[in-house]
Each structure stands twice: as structure tokens, then as C-alpha cells.
Symmetry: C2
């Protein structure tokens, strides 16, 4: 493969966590969303994430943070990632811990490191364009900004958070980069329509590119105890002490998303920039999104993930996910979601993504973790 | 068990055929509707049919007609039926052949026989009342009428055929029996509403009670070749020749429902009577009907046939039939039909019974008979 590196100091961090409850029973504790092929491409979301990033960094500068339970699967799917670049979390501690521990380890190896954090379970249909945007973001990050990538909205989505853009960063050098005024949580539909109309708002794709030192400095300002704990882990990384310290410190780390610990406070201080991008991004957060991407592949009104020959339908739209070798017959259903796995079957429709999550919570609470 | 026989010459014929395609994938070629327990009662429809009839006839005068493939299952479910009272059809030849061959065999044993034909796959929730009505029908049949049982409609059903009633048969002796003016096929909804309003129409439950000789005479008048062929089979029944003759004659028997070969022509000649009845009858022809009967048993808005503990639902109505040990989750669906079996899954809604049948035909035509 030909690499055209973004920068010799540029490192990618892939936090590979999160089950993706809204995709149950396809996604499971032992088969989380990032380990799945949701588009029938033959590649999992994690594999695709690695492949679209590695031309920017080379394989030696890709760092993965994941749970102990997924170590074997991650190593199997990403054989080119170095063992010393895989950080195994004893338990989930949200994105600040995952990303910053990696940034802290990388910063000790390379004080000039620029890190980019890229979720392991998103979809990008135009990876070359993605890399083009990240290259610009790396250049902006070199100026000291925490730089994010904002997706130009294609509709008034209420499933994504938004980024409100402000003034240009430096119109001469960076034609596209703008300051970020603020981050906005998933809005109500009328608000989302306003965002779409005003042209000032972008979708937040959860990517952050920054000098490792800048990222850690902002963390230190806003979450000093968390920053200190992360330093303790990073200080002994690669030494015989590493497991002892990690197991001591990790369980008490504050669980907080990087959006709250770093991105929002930094935005208030004018330290965040955004580069807009259009590269077919989706977080494929629910079965509607999965159906949409399968439909784009020309599957007709009923999208099918699995063996198409086993699915028969009559006047049906929506999606069938078939993981078993059974015949699945769907008759006269609109926007249906049928997920057929060995030990669990889900039947719902496209409007119920949030309730799937609630049902997963209910199953856990009622002692049926065996199917989660 | 205490028998209170309807008449010492009264015999019951149970034609046990028909897969029940609208109940696929629960009903199968090797597990047809009559062999299934559709109400969660612990008894199959065939067993229940036998049990509600046997007090009227005693076990020795119950005659079953079924396919070779179901011999073992029928004998297993009805151990009290005599081997000499089971006629095995080499192939399905519709109801005239099934019922009349049994009537012809019975008539040779008992020239004064009165036979009553009762479908094996219908449901009756008030069997004592059913027997009360049949007793009256037997008395009417003794007068030479082909006597049917008409169900007082509880709604403008378009799923059943109707019986149009005429004058009383003999108001002194039979307070309820009336002449049948004509039989009406499943009507359109507006016609059904008219039938419900006029009070002259009853549902056709497919039961016929008549002297065996009367039944066979009417057949001879209207379908002489079929009557002759049936006579050939009955003449040698119980002799060493029986299998040879049956296998020779059976394949060429005309396939015709008894409604057309006997009931309708006889009605035109004023030879058919009807006794109205209200005994919780249903032909449980589709999953809506199954759901209805499960719902009557207090299952809430989502009826469940199978292990209730494995079905979880959130704002769902309709029916789940679970034959596997999987968890079935149904979220936000109205009138849904989910049938979960080992090798086939059906997802549809209550309005699509007819399309299930079409899908079964499609599966057969496309070489997937393995799941039928």
C-alpha cells in the first residue's frame, strides 16, 4: 500500500468500545457493533476504520483502545496493529479515559505527537475524501487547535449532535476551517430544521485531532484528577509495573465523554476548530441506518443483511438481518425490522430504535444477560 | 366416561385432511393444522374433535379418514379409534371422496346408519351445547334430511360461507330446524353486513348429518361416476382385495367438495335442513383466529402460543407463536403475526392471511418444499 502520510508526527487513536445496544440482537456484548460487518461489504466497521486511516499514519502509528474481552477479535481483525499499540481497558470508562490514556502514552513516545481520535464503529463511504479532510485538520491542529471534523448535514437529523461554526480560523492558509462556537446535543426536530436552514451547523462525527500535549493540557485544566490518574498509567506503560498500576487506577477513573471533559470547555475558550467534510459519513446507530446503507447498495425496498436467498417477501419494506439458516418470510409490512439470530429474534419497526435500547436494559435487569 | 348416545345408528366421520396453509409455518405437510394444539389447551384440534363427539357415538362408531402420512400421528392422538375405522387416503381427493367413502363403508355395516361429518380442525368452546345441537340434527336427519349445523353469526365475517334459512321443517317436533334455501360462498363485507342484519343467515360450519343411504343417493344422482367408484372401494373394504382396489380407483376420483357435490344440489331440491347452534365455533382458519382464542384466555394484547417466558414485548399487539427456545422481542407493532419455528420464520400482520397461502404456493413452486 502507498502511504501519503498526513504528518510524521500524526497518530491515530481508535477507541473501540460500546456495544451498540440499538442494534441488538445483532450486536452483543461479545460481538459489539465495531466487530460487525453492517453493510455486507465483507469488512467489519473496525477493519474499515483502520483501512481508511492507515494511509495517513502507517500501521505503526495506529493505536487501539478496547476491552480485554475483545483483545483476540481486535488482534484478529487488525493484524497490522502493534501489540504495544493496543491498550486493554479493564472496564469501560467512557471516551475521555480511552482517548487520553492513548494520547498520554503516545506523548511520552513523541512529545510532538498530533493525535486524531476516530470512532471504530462509524461508516465512511468516501475514504479518500475523508483523508483529504483529516489532512487539513492535522494542519489546523498544528496551530494549537483541537480540531474536529464536521459533516455537512443532508437533512434535519435528530440522531446526531451538531457543531455551531463561527469565524474562519485563517482564511489564507485553511480555506475551510472555522472556529467552533459551541457543541449542541441531539436537537428536537424543529431545532434541527433551523440548523439545516442556517448553514452554520454541522453534524458532530466524534472525531478530534489535536497535539497530544494540547489535549492533555485542556484535560488537566478541566479534570485535574482524571488527568493525573491517566498520567500515572501512562508513566509506567511498557514497564513491568504497567498492569499493577492500571488495575489500581483504572476502576476509579471518572466516566465522562470527551465532548464534556475537553471539547466543550475548549470551545468556550476559542480553542476548537472544525473542518467541514462530505465523505458519506454515518454512525449507523440503528437498523434504519443499516437499512439505508444496504438500500444504497441496490437491495430494493426490503434491505437484507445476510443470505438473500433465504428471505422471501411480499409487499414488505424495511430490513431483514438473517444470521441463521432459516427461511424468513415477510408479508405486507412497512418499515419492518426483523433480526433473526440463533438465540434471539427481534421484530420491530424503524421508529423504535430507542425502545430497543430500553428492552436491552430490561433484559439485563431481568437476568437474561445470556442473550445480550 | 358417561355416554349419552345420540342414536344407536349414529356414526361420526372425521375427515382429517388439509394442511391449513394460512397457518404456515406452524402448520406443515407433516404437521397439519388438525394435529396441532392451536389454543394452548394441551389438546390438538383432532383430539378435541374426537372428545366432543365420542359421547354421542361411543368410540366404536367414530370413523377417521386421513392421509397415509398421518396414520401414526392419528393413531397416537386417537388411541380409542378402531383400526378398522381408519381409512387411509393414498392422496387428497377433497371432502366428497373422504366423507362418502366412509359413509359407504359404514352403510355396508349398518344399512340404517346415520352419519355425521365433523371437520377435524375446528374449534368448539362449548362442547355440551354442541352435542345438544347435534342430537337435534340427528333427529332431523332421521326424517330424511341432509342436516347441517348453522352457527349464529356474531359479526359480519367474510371468512366463512353462509347458509340462508327458509321455512321451519316441522315446528312441532323440531323447534329450531329450518329448511336451507341455499348455501352462499364467503361474501363481500357489505353483503355480510346484510346477512347479519336480516337474521336469516347462519355460518356454514361444514358439518353434515344424514342417513348414509340418503347421502349416497344424492351423490349417485349428481355424481354417478364418483358414487360408483366409491362403491367399488367400499364393496371390498375389509377383504384382501381392499388395498389393490383402493390404489386402482382412488387416484382417479373426482376432487370436489361435498358442498358442491351434495349439499348445494340437495338444497335446491329442498332436502337440506339446518339446526342453528351457538357453541363457540370457529374454524381457526388464520392467525387472527388463533390470536382471538388465545386472547380469550386472558393473554393481554399480545397473544402468545408457546413458552410465554421467552416472549418480551413493548407496546405490541397481535400474536407470537414460538416453537423454538429463542427469546422473541416484539416492539411497537400493531396486529403483528410472528411465527418462530426451527427452520422458518414468518413476520406479517393480521390482514395478510390470504397472502400467506400465496407465499406457501410460491415456496412450493420454487423448490423449497422442505419448509412446507
Amino acid at each position: 500500500m502507498n502511504y501519503r502520510l498526513a504528518d510524521k508526527h500524526f497518530y491515530a487513536i481508535i477507541p473501540a468500545g460500546g456495544v451498540g445496544s440499538r442494534l441488538w440482537p445483532l450486536s452483543r456484548a461479545d460481538a459489539p457493533k465495531f466487530l460487525l460487518d453492517l453493510t455486507g461489504s465483507g469488512k467489519t466497521l473496525l477493519e474499515s476504520t483502520f483501512e481508511r486511516i492507515v494511509p495517513l499514519t502507517g500501521p505503526d502509528r495506529v493505536f487501539v483502545v478496547t476491552g480485554y474481552a475483545h483483545r483476540a477479535a481486535v488482534k484478529n481483525q487488525l493484524p497490522r496493529v502493534l501489540d504495544t499499540n493496543i491498550f486493554l481497558e479493564p472496564s469501560p470508562r467512557d471516551s475521555t479515559a480511552a482517548i487520553c490514556v492513548a494520547a498520554a502514552i503516545i506523548a511520552r513516545r513523541d512529545p510532538d505527537a498530533i493525535v486524531g481520535s476516530f470512532p471504530a464503529d462509524h461508516l465512511v463511504t468516501a475514504p479518500a475524501e475523508f483523508r483529504h479532510v483529516v489532512r487539513e485538520a492535522v494542519e489546523v491542529a498544528k496551530q494549537g487547535y483541537i480540531t474536529t471534523v464536521g459533516i455537512t448535514p443532508t437533512g434535519p437529523s435528530v440522531a446526531f449532535g451538531y457543531i455551531e461554526t463561527g469565524d474562519a480560523v485563517d482564511a489564507e492558509r485553511f480555506p475551510n476551517a472555522r472556529h467552533v462556537s459551541r457543541f449542541v446535543e441531539k436537537p428536537e426536530e424543529d431545532v434541527a430544521r433551523g440548523f439545516l436552514a442556517d448553514g452554520k451547523h454541522l453534524w458532530n462525527a466524534g472525531m478530534f485531532i489535536a497535539k497530544a500535549q494540547v489535549l492533555l493540557d485542556v484535560l488537566r485544566e478541566n479534570r485535574p484528577r482524571l488527568a493525573e490518574a491517566i498520567d500515572r498509567i501512562a508513566d509506567v506503560w511498557g514497564t513491568p509495573e504497567q498492569f499493577v498500576i492500571k488495575d489500581q487506577v483504572w476502576p476509579d477513573l471518572e466516566k465522562i465523554a470527551i465532548d464534556y471533559s475537553i471539547a466543550e470547555p475548549a470551545a468556550r475558550d476559542g480553542k476548537v476548530a472544525v473542518v467541514p467534510g462530505d465523505f458519506g459519513w454515518d454512525d449507523v446507530g440503528d437498523f434504519s441506518a443499516v437499512a439505508r446503507h444496504l438500500a444504497n447498495r441496490g437491495s430494493g425496498s426490503l434491505a437484507i443483511l445476510g443470505d438473500r436467498a433465504r428471505v422471501i417477501s411480499d409487499r414488505a419494506s424495511g430490513i431483514v438481518v438473517g444470521e441463521t439458516d432459516r427461511v424468513v418470510a415477510v408479508i405486507g409490512m412497512e418499515d419492518v425490522v426483523v433480526v433473526d439470530t440463533d438465540d434471539a429474534l427481534l421484530v420491530t419497526n424503524a421508529q423504535n430504535a430507542q425502545r430497543i435500547k430500553q428492552m436491552v436494559d430490561f433484559l439485563r435487569a431481568s437476568g437474561r444477560g445470556d442473550v445480550l
